[in-house]
Point group: C2
Chain length 398, copies 2
């Protein structure tokens, strides 16, 4: 997967059209997610579905569902039907390992996937697309593969269950998936890939066939390890909405191969410090906050780079309040402050001008520093042996 | 490889242009091989090179070299330099397993490769492109993979040295080659593949990236088994000339990856019974003679389907002699009768009309029946364990 949360930019477009692909997001005024649901043909996660998830799992849903950060789905209801009937499904997500350390945007799909794993007691496969990063970026294959193993440590530190989680690098695991990859490739024409992904003809041939590699883990037969006893168990894919084109293709192909269509649950994009209209770039360290940043770096970045929706002066802020929609500290708090009462209070006070930008930035700093401290402590415990365990081809336990 | 000897047709073209690709051969009056050398930019195997091969190996060359059946090459001289300097090279050839039993056309590259292996004491890798056949043909992957193992038995029966020969199915071996496949894919654009192979945009995406898979075994690092001690040893590829496009692409990419360009030695096409202008088709059993055919079937096919260049009546034949160029029984004898004196005699007597078509057909029948009898006896000795040995990933011995 290349489109980890936060890798995307909202580029200015000349027309009013919004374009969302795994490599490019173009939208004049930020992404219109309701419009995207219509454009992609997915379904909105509405209150009824959220309530049903709570009923089915017997617990409150993750706050990102309540906040509509995970906002769209395909066939999620069918997965709940299965779960209610005592039948298993497995989870599939991934990451394109293009840099050594993750930032907060990268964390979003994994934190949510861990919640899904726990709530549904579900097996999980995590694809690290070192092959994709090699094909698209100026990286050697050795570097991309090494980054996959580095990233695996960060992912494991999120807290996945080693008995139920299989992490794999495409480069190392490809042989196991090759029959399904070929099956998918045979059913997808060049014209279709060009239509879905918009690649041009000077792209390399690996890029044209790669979509089959990201599609393959959606079918449980790509895993010659018992995921949970059954042979062909259904798949639920949590991912950012820009990855949907891969899985529209996958869902189109699935019945032609006699497989079930994977279900999906889509998140919105995590905004860059400079605002939702700028690119959160791995090569621009000021555009995001890394899980390796120090407390001082975190406070510094928030202070200097996080775009504020508050008034330019204390007087203006007191008079007009903050534009919460444009305020990155508030928007980041929506993602990472898991305290609805406190968040509502910020929205009210800050929006009304009774709270200053610096207070909100300080609060965000506290939250992120706390998360990073816990993350770094957990990550320090992830030894090479633990990575080996998660990445070894083995039956998952249930 | 799809273009095994004899899979090709010489279709009638409207213009005078000849087109030779791995999937298609179009030429008005049979292929003009001298013109093809110019068109492809390869080099003719001349008398000097043949003599040098005899000097270097200390033995007579295979009669197909003397008869210009193997007629073209790239960098063959450099391979001879290496051999003279006591440095190793390895051989690479292959087959696309689209049918269960081989015919005489399929035998050509393997018989010649065995001669090369013996003459140069060279390690050999044989690629069975079950993935390719699945992508191009109406076959399941299981069928293609099963045919690969069936074909391996036929190939082994040609007499390769188990200590020096590694046979692999792409489907089973892909993981080992994947780093090199990716390296090749990254260096080849869609435009280039279309330019070289002429695929159209309704072809499937696997077909566009497949050329990298046929290219990969040209680089010794695709084999994590010591082929002969050295790390990066040069490669010599014996194949029919229609496979050259794959290896032009490979030679173009090689320096970009820091690898040596593979050398090549090209054969002409083995003609169908119905003549060089018709398609020798796996689905038309009358177009060729199979290594599973009985003596009776062989005589029947030669009698009824082998196009004769002789006179229509005994009188005409006596008066005008045979057109040897168009006479399939004579042309097949050129391939499979390894007795220059006898062949010269047929050419003279038959060409002059002192020998009748039926005599030549009988002679060809004797030769083919003899070869098939020996082949079938040898093939019967190839057990599943022997196949397993040839196809296991292991160091080759020298």
């Amino acid at each position: 997967m290349s489109g980890d949360q936060g890798e995307k930019a909202n580029k200015q477009t000349s027309g009013g059209e919004q374009v969302v692909t795994p490599w490019d997001v173009q939208a004049d005024e930020g992404v219109d997610y309701d419009k995207l649901i219509v454009q992609f043909g997915s379904s909105k996660i509405d209150d009824d579905l959220v309530k049903r998830m709570e009923r089915v799992t017997g617990q409150k849903v993750h706050h990102w569902l309540r906040k509509e950060i995970f906002f769209s789905h395909r066939d999620l209801g069918e997965m709940l039907d299965l779960y209610e009937a005592g039948k298993p499904f497995y989870l599939y997500t991934g990451r394109g390992p293009s840099s050594g350390s993750l930032h907060f945007g990268h964390l979003v799909p994994f934190v949510f996937t861990k919640w899904l794993q726990d709530a549904f007691n579900a097996p999980l496969v995590i694809q690290l697309t070192d092959d994709e990063k090699f094909l698209w970026k100026d990286l050697t294959l050795e570097e991309a593969n090494m980054l996959a193993y580095e990233n695996a440590k960060d992912i494991i530190a999120v807290g996945f269950d080693p008995k139920k989680t299989f992490i794999f690098s495409d480069v190392d695991y490809i042989g196991h998936m090759y029959p399904n990859i070929l099956g998918i490739q045979k059913k997808v024409t060049l014209n279709q890939v060009r239509g879905i992904f918009g690649m041009n003809d000077s792209a390399n041939i690996g890029q044209f066939s790669f979509p089959a590699i990201q599609a393959a883990p959606s079918f449980s037969s790509s895993f010659p390890i018992p995921l949970r006893g059954d042979d062909d168990i259904p798949c639920l894919i949590p991912c950012a909405i820009d990855q949907d084109p891969y899985f529209r293709m996958t869902r189109d192909v699935a019945p032609k191969l006699g497989f079930r269509k994977p279900a999906l649950i889509h998140s919105k994009f995590f905004p860059a410090l400079q605002g939702a209209q700028t690119k959160m770039s791995a090569s621009d360290a000021t555009s995001s906050i890394y899980l390796t940043d120090t407390a001082e770096q975190i406070r510094h970045k928030i202070k200097h780079y996080a775009v504020s929706g508050g008034g330019d002066t204390a007087e203006e802020q007191a008079a007009n309040g903050a534009n919460l929609e444009k305020d990155i500290p508030y928007q980041w708090l929506r993602f990472f402050l898991d305290d609805d009462a406190k968040l509502d209070q910020v929205a009210e006070e800050y929006g009304a001008g009774r709270m200053m930008t610096q207070e909100v930035k300080d609060m965000l700093g506290d939250v992120l520093i706390g998360i990073v401290a816990k993350f770094q402590a957990d990550r320090a415990k992830v030894s090479d042996d633990v990575v080996k365990e998660f990445m070894s081809v083995r039956p998952l336990e249930f």
